[in-house]
Amino acid sequence: MEKMPRWADVVLVPLISIALAFIAAGLVVLAIGENPFDMVFFMVRGALGSSSGIGFTLYYTTNFIFTGLAFSVAMHARLFNIGGEGQATMGGLGAALVLLAVPWPHWALALPFAIMGAALLGAAWAAIPAYLQAKRGSHIVITTIMFNFIGAAFMIYLLNGILKKPGQQSAETVTFPKGAHLPTFHEMLAPLGIEFSKSTPANISFFVALIAAFLVWLLIWRTRLGYQIRSFGQSETASTYAGISAVKVTIISMLISGGLAGMLAINVVMGEAERLILNFTEGAGFMGIAVGLMGRNHPVGIVLAAFLFGTLNQGGFELLWEMPGISREMVLVIQALIIVFTGALVNFTRYPLERIFLAMQKRAN
């Protein structure tokens, strides 16, 4: 066996990588003359120390689960979908159009249709890059980046034009009908006698995200299509020999990916804002790349990574009050360093670890 044990690769490597990222982030904090341990304390307390903190943390977690899953489904087919941001934006448009078109009587009726609308437009925005990759060989990374910008411009155009609420300055639609209001954690937990903060945007979408994670697991590891996606990702030539259509796998996995990214809108547009606004994705589409990487493209890992990123995101807001010397963008630095160490520099951890394990195996034999 010329390999290190599986548990080391799946658990040890990511843990060491994250530790390195946090050490590097700590050095940045030291460099600007603040105490990194204080920062961690305030961030954790802000994110998990109160029910309102937890509510916001779970709200961000929901976003990151959707975009993390989106990235990972495409990644299983070795397609680097960097367009989660644009697909989520278009998902918002899809959800908004559905919710504005009908005076919904009850959220339980509105939710499935809003999911369909969001996923459909998200998938549509991934469809063109997918087609160009499959049929014309245009590199998916570049086309999805371009589509992020085209989508953003399109959204600004719509929200300043036909979708704009009449007689108002800011670029946003009218508020969705009352019946489309999704139950928040406060409303869901009150009948059970649990007092959950009223002010947080965490809503039932969190469970939609968890169900989506389960379905993705089912798809990738328990269906024929999932097998095709994975084998295509492992070796394009081998899977073509096995009769798997490259065009089909490329397009379908990108459609699923785009649809998942679009579903972010259920949480943000339908659940929180209750109207379509500009830049509602707040970079969550890009962050999905980090979540997918850290979660090693497995739904369980993605949910855990999404929770970590959600905690960081909410904890960052707490810094504003507790440590005014540290800007909220410190969260972005930590997240970037996590991408550096778990993604780009993963072999920086893996190579030496591999050597240690091989040496140990040799000694044991």
């Binding site: 600007i32 990487l293 010397g325 540290i326 963008e329 970037a336 991408i339 550096v340």
Partner: protein, 322 residues
């Protein structure tokens, strides 16, 4: 639109295309050597910040440019170590660099100047001023040639002339020097370069050093010449437009100048004439003009009009044979 308006629009296009051109040429060196670089945006951003901060502290714009180049270079070396030495994914590394720059610039800027990530406004020698070329004033009154010379060619900041000088220089380096031949070969077929006894790793490192320096000048131009100080996220997607221009020009320096001028022209148009009325029939919204560089790049990539074929070995880490 009269003649002078055309001249002014062209003049603005030149000013706006300089950043794109420098970043585009930066990307050209990297991608021609086989390293994808979507981190142009981040490298420019960190350079813009460091250049503005150092120019403010030292009072010299040129010192700012040097510091900006050093900052951009160090980011470029992170990319180099990750993608050349540790064979990491080049796209992921680029994404990380972009995030790192947007975070660090604000965190450090906030810690030092407490202005929400902005640097103080640059004045005097801390900012670049226009150069008036010889005879520009005396020729200004001559018909046609006068305005072209005195408005369009003369009266730019020194970095503008440097940027345009890099175009023929890059062409010459790529097509007429030994280094250029090897650089192109490393991007097309690294095995052959290795067989010839040349280190692929060394060539790629050298390419990324040039990329870092050019991105540094681009970022410094933004904060010390085009604007007077650093503002949060001031690159505003220009790194990606430069990437688009690189593809649009099919990785060739002279064409890159054309593409960057075209995209700069589109930006100038969207600034000068937000909504264009076409013969009273319909209006072209400003957002369309802004998205046009990206749309055109997708069309070119799709290969319906002149296919863009990237360097063959791009994005693949090179594993030396033993």
């Amino acid at each position: 639109m009269d003649f002078l308006q055309v001249i002014l629009a062209m003049d603005m296009s030149i000013r706006l295309s300089v950043v794109l051109l420098l970043a585009c040429l930066a990307g050209l060196y990297s991608e021609r050597a086989g390293i994808v670089d979507i981190g142009l945006e981040g490298k420019m951003l960190i350079a813009a910040f460091v250049a503005a901060a150092v120019a403010y502290e030292s009072g010299s714009a040129w010192v700012g440019v040097l510091a900006g180049c050093a900052a951009s270079l160090s980011f470029s070396m992170i990319h180099a170590v990750a993608s050349i030495v540790y064979r990491g994914d080049q796209i992921i590394s680029g994404v990380a660099i972009n995030f790192l720059a947007s975070g660090l610039t604000v965190v450090i800027g906030h810690a030092v100047y407490s202005r929400g990530g902005q640097t103080p406004t640059l004045a005097g020698d801390a900012r670049f001023t226009e150069i008036t070329l010889p005879f520009a004033d005396s020729l200004a009154d001559v018909a046609v040639i006068g305005p072209i010379y005195s408005e369009l060619i003369s009266g730019h900041k020194p970095l503008v002339y440097i940027a345009f000088a890099f175009v023929p220089l890059t062409w010459w380096i790529l097509q007429r020097t030994r280094f250029g031949l090897r650089l192109r070969a490393v991007g097309e077929n690294p095995e052959s370069v290795d067989t010839a006894g040349i280190s692929v790793m060394k060539m790629r490192f050298q390419a990324l050093i040039i990329t870092g320096i050019l991105c540094g000048i681009a970022g410094a131009y933004l904060s010390t010449a085009q604007a007077a100080g650093f503002g949060k996220e001031m690159t505003a997607g220009r790194g990606y437009i430069a990437l688009a221009a690189l593809i649009f020009s099919k990785w060739r320096p002279v064409h890159a100048m054309g593409a960057c001028f075209l995209f700069g022209f589109l930006e100038a148009i969207s600034n000068l004439y937000p909504n264009i009325d076409v013969f009273g029939l319909f209006t072209i919204p400003v957002q369309f003009t802004q998205a046009l560089p990206f749309i055109m790049t997708v069309v070119i990539l799709a290969g319906f009009i002149g296919k863009a074929i990237p360097p063959k070995a791009i994005g693949q880490p090179y594993v030396k044979e033993r």
